[in-house]
């Protein structure tokens, strides 16, 4: 009868695989994750304490990585919504701004769950690319509304008092590099639809205020003058940014020279690239 008990599958409360059993089939007690036959020596407890520290470190990294990816996805959605805005230096339309508020709230809630995990010296220990993405989203919204570049203080304030995660200078500046990409997309799209380069006082005759092209050029030149704050990826980002400015310059030239020859809403014959569509993850 003992043999039959082995072949008939038993339904158990704990159906977890890999349960250690003795020769009678009774479950062995103890931590199933540990080999039972570890012969202890004078170094065993030292390695066990290292194992605990390393496990804690890996768990934390995983947790932060997950939050960071979620923050990235939410930030990209904010950016996607912002690209539907059509006017510069004006409040963001209600439907879009309420959507952004909702997502920003989600981001803050997510970040507050890892506050302790990235506190103190750990802020630089774990990479959190989501913060950079968040800077991109917030700075883009700030630019569209005020036509100014967000300051580091304003950026930190955007995280609110509840989330005590410092935005590092590198997060801030890399977010600005990404902002230039969004400005390019906004500039090309709005120019194509309206037949004019977006500027601060659209619709008025005479003084039309600064155009987005001028803002982009000014931002780019600042980021070219400043020496690298972090060597990681600076050169690539700078190269991409310079290319983006060139594209908008061509758009600006295009509307000035041929702008009135085309009906609004018709695209231009130069390549603004597939990047005109925000990238979704």
């Amino acid at each position: 009868m003992a043999a039959a008990e082995v072949v008939v599958p038993q339904i158990r409360d704990d159906s977890m695989a890999g349960v250690k059993r003795d020769y009678k089939g009774n479950r062995k007690e103890g931590n199933p994750g540990l080999p039972k036959d570890v012969v202890r020596n004078e170094y065993t407890s030292m390695f066990e304490s290292f194992r605990d520290s390393l496990d804690e470190h890996h768990d934390r990294r995983q947790k932060i990585g997950k939050v960071s990816r979620d923050v990235t996805a939410l930030s990209k959605k904010i950016i996607f919504s912002l690209q539907r805005v059509r006017k510069l230096n004006e409040p963001i339309p209600q439907n879009i701004s309420s959507e952004i508020e909702k997502r920003t709230k989600e981001i803050k809630e997510l970040l507050s769950t890892i506050e302790d995990d990235v506190a103190g010296l750990r802020r630089y220990q774990y990479s959190m690319p989501g913060i950079e993405e968040f800077v991109e989203a917030v700075s883009f919204a700030h630019y569209l509304e005020t036509q100014t570049l967000i300051t580091p203080e304003q950026m930190q304030a955007a995280l609110g008092d509840d989330v005590k995660i410092p935005i590092t200078p590198a997060d801030y500046v890399f977010g600005l590099f990404d902002l230039t990409g969004e400005m390019m997309r906004f500039a090309t799209a709005v120019t194509a639809l309206s037949g004019a380069m977006p500027s601060g006082f659209m619709g008025e005759e005479g003084d039309n205020g600064r155009t987005i092209l001028e803002d982009l050029q000014e931002t780019a030149s600042m980021l070219q003058i400043v020496p690298p704050i972090s060597s990681k990826g600076w050169k690539d980002k700078k190269g991409v940014m310079i290319e983006q400015v060139r594209k908008v310059e061509r758009v600006g030239y295009g509307v000035r020279v041929r702008g009135n020859e085309r009906p609004k809403g018709v695209g231009y014959d130069f390549d603004v690239g597939e990047e005109t569509a925000p990238v979704m993850d």
């Binding site: 010296l121 802020r123 100014t148 690298p228």
Partner: protein, 246 residues
């Protein structure tokens, strides 16, 4: 820039903020290069002396160990002090990649020296077969270890574990050379120590990183020593009293 009543695109404070952070980063990196260049030179010297263990019989090892300590390790410790003082003013993990490898190399030299019977002090004389613990490493270097509560310079667990893999590598080489020098007892001792450490390494749950690659290599160190022991036992060259260690 267009001049109108609207605020400027860029607040001059932003420019200043970026400029000052960039300049600080440049200064820090320069100073770190300066310190680590000296430190690495000192560590190379220590490693150079240490390589003589493979041609120095046990009876003459003590003077060599003192030389490694005095001329190799001691000068490096003063550089570590300088590094620690300087680096503690900046975020630890922002810059630790600049010196982590150096720390690991230095700790490895200390571990090998101590295992051979060096690195003794008043309260604890050196003895062969002693593994310097991370706490002792911290005391000798006069820096904290494994800090989690404040952002200062310290020796990490990872650096210490990596140094231990250097220790097993160095001892696996010595296991062979000590046979050549006629000290089979040392080979046997190394064999049992390396197996103990190997058992310890197997307790770690490693992810796919540098630590895993280096710890994976420890089994080859064990194998190298086992091959030597096998050669010896085949020819009945292992002293009786130690036979169970093979």
């Amino acid at each position: 820039m267009a001049s109108n009543s609207a605020p400027a695109m860029i607040d001059p404070a932003i420019f200043q903020f970026l400029q000052s952070h960039a300049e600080q980063d440049i200064d820090v990196n320069e100073k770190l290069s300066q310190i680590t260049t000296v430190l690495n030179r000192q560590i190379s010297t220590a490693q150079g002396y240490l390589s003589r263990i493979h041609s120095t019989p046990t009876s003459k090892i003590q003077p060599l160990l003192s030389q490694i300590e005095k001329e190799g390790i001691q000068p490096a410790i003063s550089s570590i002090q300088e590094l620690g003082k300087f680096a503690s003013s900046y975020p630890y993990y922002k810059y630790n990649h600049r010196w982590s490898r150096s720390i690991q190399n230095l700790v490895a030299v200390m571990l090998v020296t101590a295992w051979l019977g060096g690195m003794g002090n008043e309260s604890r004389p050196g003895e062969q077969g002693r593994l310097l613990r991370i706490e002792e490493v911290g005391k000798i270097l006069e820096v904290p270890i494994n800090l989690t509560d404040r952002d200062e310079f310290h020796v990490t667990i990872e650096e210490y574990i990596l140094a231990m893999t250097d220790l097993t590598e160095e001892l696996s080489r010595l296991a062979m050379n000590s046979v050549t020098m006629g000290d089979i007892n040392l080979t046997v001792r190394i064999s049992s120590f390396i197996k103990d450490l190997f058992a310890g390494f197997q307790l770690l749950n490693l992810k796919n990183d540098i630590l895993r690659r280096r710890v994976d290599a420890v089994k080859y160190h064990v194998k190298k020593v086992e091959d030597v022991i096998y050669d010896l036992s085949l020819r009945n060259l292992i002293p009786e009293a130690k036979e169970e260690a093979s």
